[in-house]
């Protein structure tokens, strides 16, 4: 493997046309193939815009916006083209093409757009339908799926592309535990051969999945480093949903005054480790 980062952002900033402040400023990180980056921060902090910029969507749809700094997808060899980027939108309903009448056809549609040969398309449909347990929905109209089912289809469509770079905007929303497990397994499967960037509020997932985490607040990069350092660093993390085990620890420790300190600490540590494993 090459030591060059496949994706490199240096002091990267973007302001939408007519906006009075930048969507994000001075973002810097690097990512290798096989690495996963988590992006955290409250809504409107610029996370989605940053994903759009990485995917080239901003450049295409808002060419009048002001961009500064560097974004190097060219750093990858061979160069990562927009067709090799998968994007799972935050709003799963936005992902549907509206052009197909079955779940299978919807998966095929995203590949046909890329010119994938029909025999490969058939393989990918089988692969994704089984990976996301969509067998019972394969012939259903995409517009009749439930919220969670639509999310699973959106994931299947993007993963079917076998992207070299996969961007996911809050992908666990609307999923139940089994769905989240299917997603994590799928991500672990493609992780080896791709770069993943995940925007996610559930910090447990960031901990479990990501090699690096970037914390954006009002468009400013507050932190970039290993996930385990995010809460031990002295930056202000109060705008983040703290991981539920820390939350539980705080709430319960406040409540259970009678519990001896050592006993509770031991229980909490056990919880912490078992929670990180699941």
């Amino acid at each position: 493997m090459t030591a060059h980062p496949n994706l490199l952002l240096e002091h990267f900033s973007y302001t939408y046309p007519f906006a009075d402040r930048p969507a994000f400023t001075d973002v810097s990180f690097e990512l290798l193939s096989g690495e996963t980056l988590g992006i955290v921060g409250p809504s409107t902090s610029g996370k989605t815009s940053l994903l759009y910029a990485i995917a080239g969507i901003l450049q295409k749809h808002f060419p009048a916006g002001i961009m500064s700094g560097n974004i190097l997808r060219e750093a990858a060899k061979p160069f990562i083209s927009p067709a090799e980027i998968g994007f799972v939108f935050q709003d799963q309903y936005m992902q549907l093409s509206g052009a197909t009448e079955t779940v299978e056809a919807e998966i095929a549609f995203s590949l046909e757009q890329l010119g994938t040969p029909p025999n490969i398309i058939r393989e990918r449909i089988v692969e994704q339908v089984s990976q996301f347990h969509l067998e019972h929905l394969a012939r259903r109209h995409p517009q009749t799926l439930s919220g969670g089912e639509t999310r699973m289809l959106a994931l299947a469509c993007e993963m079917a592309k076998h992207p070299r770079c996969l961007l996911l905007d809050q992908p666990t929303e609307s999923l139940h535990p089994e769905g989240i497990n299917l997603l994590i397994n799928a991500l672990n499967r493609i992780k080896q051969s791709a770069m993943l960037i995940v925007v996610e509020h559930r910090l447990e997932l960031i901990n479990a999945l990501c090699d690096k985490v970037l914390f954006l607040l009002n468009g400013n990069q507050q932190f970039y480093g290993h996930p385990s350092e995010l809460f031990s660093s002295d930056i202000d993390t109060h705008s983040l949903d703290i991981p539920s085990w820390i939350d539980a620890q705080r709430k319960l420790l406040g409540h259970v005054e009678t519990l001896s300190y050592r006993k509770s600490l031991r229980t909490l540590q056990q919880w912490h480790s078992s929670n990180l494993q699941t």
């Binding site: 809504s43 969670g148 089912e149 939350d247 319960l252």
Partner: protein, 276 residues
Amino acid sequence: MAFVEFTNVGFSYSHNSPVLHSISFSIERTEHVMLAGTIGAGKSTALKLAVGLFAPDKGSIRVDGISPSIPSLYEIVKRIGVALQNPSDQIFCSTVREEMLYGLRNLGANETSDTFQRTVALFGFSRLLDKHPYDLHPAQRRLLTIASAIAMNTPFYIFDEPTSGISKPERESIVGALHQLRIAGKGYMLITHDLAFGMEHCDRILVFNKGILAVDESLPDFLQRENAQGILKKNGLQMPIVPRMSAQLAQNTITAQYPDFISQLRQQQTSSKQAP
């Protein structure tokens, strides 16, 4: 008489196998209920039936004594405020102000009405009123659907996945709003995959499993069951960490009962909300 009443309700979408099988439950006007279940379990379908967007194939539904249907929709929307799972199914005005006023205007109210003003303040929307809803962040768009429902000042609310796609600040707005509803003596049902959120803000749990009502119990009773975790698991769900931990700690102490803990937490929140 219960406010929302399902009696042996069966339903299927055209040509498909049944989505709901003989569901019966009744909810009082002032209750706070969560509805959980795996994806595709029929939760949103139940919501659509409750407001009359579809009619049941079997059984009957009553909302405040009225049978919900397209002709009675006007009567139903005066009684149940709804936020749908997909905000785009609901938002159709071109400004935040018009969106929030849409239902109110039907009731003969306008921008000067008390509930409009209060709801705008509650959600911090005053600076967003002239924006187009599609220029809002998706998380704010979801808040807008909830705010629009609350502005209607109905006695009961159903919110479908209110915490989906939002982060901490919006979550705090929703929590604030739910507290206000509680204080005002209004009832609600939260359809949610976020069990921790549901358990913190509701007193009763319903679980759907493939269109069957698998659990219907008061939350304190449910959480005190020895096999509560197992019951959720059997229905494809996972007990959130706080009550799970609480149960484990409770084996060592008698004080760590989750329901007590939640009621204390609520009192704290309520008193701190009312303070200044």
